[in-house]
Symmetry: C2
Amino acid sequence: MTQSLIGQLETPCLVLQMEKVRENILSMQQAADAAGCRLRPHIKTHKMKLFARMQMRAGAAGITCAKVSEAEVMADGGLEDIFIAYPLVGDFRIRRALQLQRRISRLILALDSLEGARALDEAARAAGTVFEVRLEVDTGALRTGICRAQAAGLAKAVAALPGLRLTGIYTFKSLVYQGAPTTDGLLAAREEGELMQQVAAEIREAGVKISDISAGSSPTGAAVAATGMVNEIRPGTYIFKDYMLVKEGAARMEEIAARIFVTVVSTPRPDYAVIDGGTKTFPMDIPLNAPPYFYPGYAIAEGNSDLMLTRMNEEHGMLVSARGETGLRVGQKLALIPIHICTALNMQNQVYLCDGGQLSVERVDARGMLV
Amino acid sequence: MTQSLIGQLETPCLVLQMEKVRENILSMQQAADAAGCRLRPHIKTHKMKLFARMQMRAGAAGITCAKVSEAEVMADGGLEDIFIAYPLVGDFRIRRALQLQRRISRLILALDSLEGARALDEAARAAGTVFEVRLEVDTGALRTGICRAQAAGLAKAVAALPGLRLTGIYTFKSLVYQGAPTTDGLLAAREEGELMQQVAAEIREAGVKISDISAGSSPTGAAVAATGMVNEIRPGTYIFKDYMLVKEGAARMEEIAARIFVTVVSTPRPDYAVIDGGTKTFPMDIPLNAPPYFYPGYAIAEGNSDLMLTRMNEEHGMLVSARGETGLRVGQKLALIPIHICTALNMQNQVYLCDGGQLSVERVDARGMLV
């Protein structure tokens, strides 16, 4: 970015390079297309109608959300085919899902328990409708998702509920291989495809017809599509990419489309400088137990590899230098690369888009949509 | 809260008990009044016009903000006396401060460098006005604030600038004593008062008249007021209190006014349960190097002291039990006490207020105001 453009920024702020965004959208779409696999991007990363529409125009089959309130925002933006990939539990959520279903052409809900399935079934029947649902299967991430051994039994029970139409299974596995973290995306993707094929086969043997096998995150998406063992992938982070994805071997630094610009507000001593962004700007959800050399601080200072953001308060970020002296001046603007882009966007009300040498401001439509 | 009220909550959500909020506002105001010290609460905790007005009605002398965009929101809410306790650096911020000053009766800005002072001075003179400013002094927190030994020299230089009117000094020290963290609030407060008195005396000896000596956070506020060595305190967290403040010896559990309610969405195995709030709901800015027994997870499950929130993704919170089995059911609602309330509120678009057995929803007006 030119100095003149940087001069226009009110910091701290997040800037998205649209040329890189378009390239990232295109390359994941091409990988999915080449594998004959549908791409249903997760909007958790961008949270913006604009980017969801760009992904659809590029060839996506639909979008993925985590929460019903996010899906409502996307429906307001004209998105018509939405999968809420999160067990839809709670009367308040089911009520909103029923209303949402009336507004769009296809809404797919998720479940991973019989209790959850029964509540959805009852609500659908009471409203005189049917919910399309997918069953979440745990393939090693140890969060939501039924254990694989119990999947076929639950699928059979769900298929018997008249208010539900079970059409598929899905998982989030990311970089887990044989139960432990890995940085080998190909190995993780191969296992992901095989485990999902196995579960699908068991469900079909139990007499339940399912058509959709959905998997794939940004680190494994293209590779799991290429296995031919799933027919849908749901990556999110690939649209902007971040330092975490680089460290996972799933992106190159030059593909990262997001920068956080900050201003140096104080240099009380030569050995540290204070920037105008702290924990309200830079996320702290660095993977647990990551060795310190893996993430040298809470963000990477672009073009200043000796600078490290090692300490923060809400509005204060303390930059230290490996050389001892930061050499920074009060008023100077710096570009930092966030470690995790999804939670960084969640803290911004708006972001700058930089496109063809022009800046514009766009609202982060679905930030903070938690319900 | 009654089961009927809990049933109305759309989770994950933050609920504020108004009876406790009023008590917390009153007790800090009484402590300041008894010491003959002004209270200028920091709005960083609540970020809401409603609570700033409540604090003013209870007797506050004005309010404190960190950023000009927060101050603008508060001015929209009728707040007329605002101190932005953060070095006001950057043309974009100075422009907004000039506009803000025209709208309210008193705006106090902050600086901690000559570069910062000169930019403010120039802008004020160009606009034909004068900025009231305070000088930030570092008393051990090692973030913004000029080193004490250089404070008198900078004060003299600032006093010579015609566009600025230097009326005071301020610091944020919190629980630091002789350069290291402490949990002895009385000791930290005594040192805070003494250091600020010393700096004020040196500045006055240099021929600069200042009237305001401002210090005091939630852990030290009442105690530093009681020393009689400062004439203003700026605590923020005291209005809601949180688990961190309890661990710092500065609050009792029963004084905490905030709860985060969540719903159990999945219990795939007996040894953990998944709730519908993760890193987008529960902040991770736990003090660095805090021993694990100090903060047993990212939040405290009220009435379920064996439950620990030990692992999170953006929308997933994994609860484990010290007893091995969580015993939680899908659909169950739980109340959790956040460790740090300020950053928890920053992630919410709105909060529930619970008052006299009634729930209402209020917008978090200044959340995400980073500029």
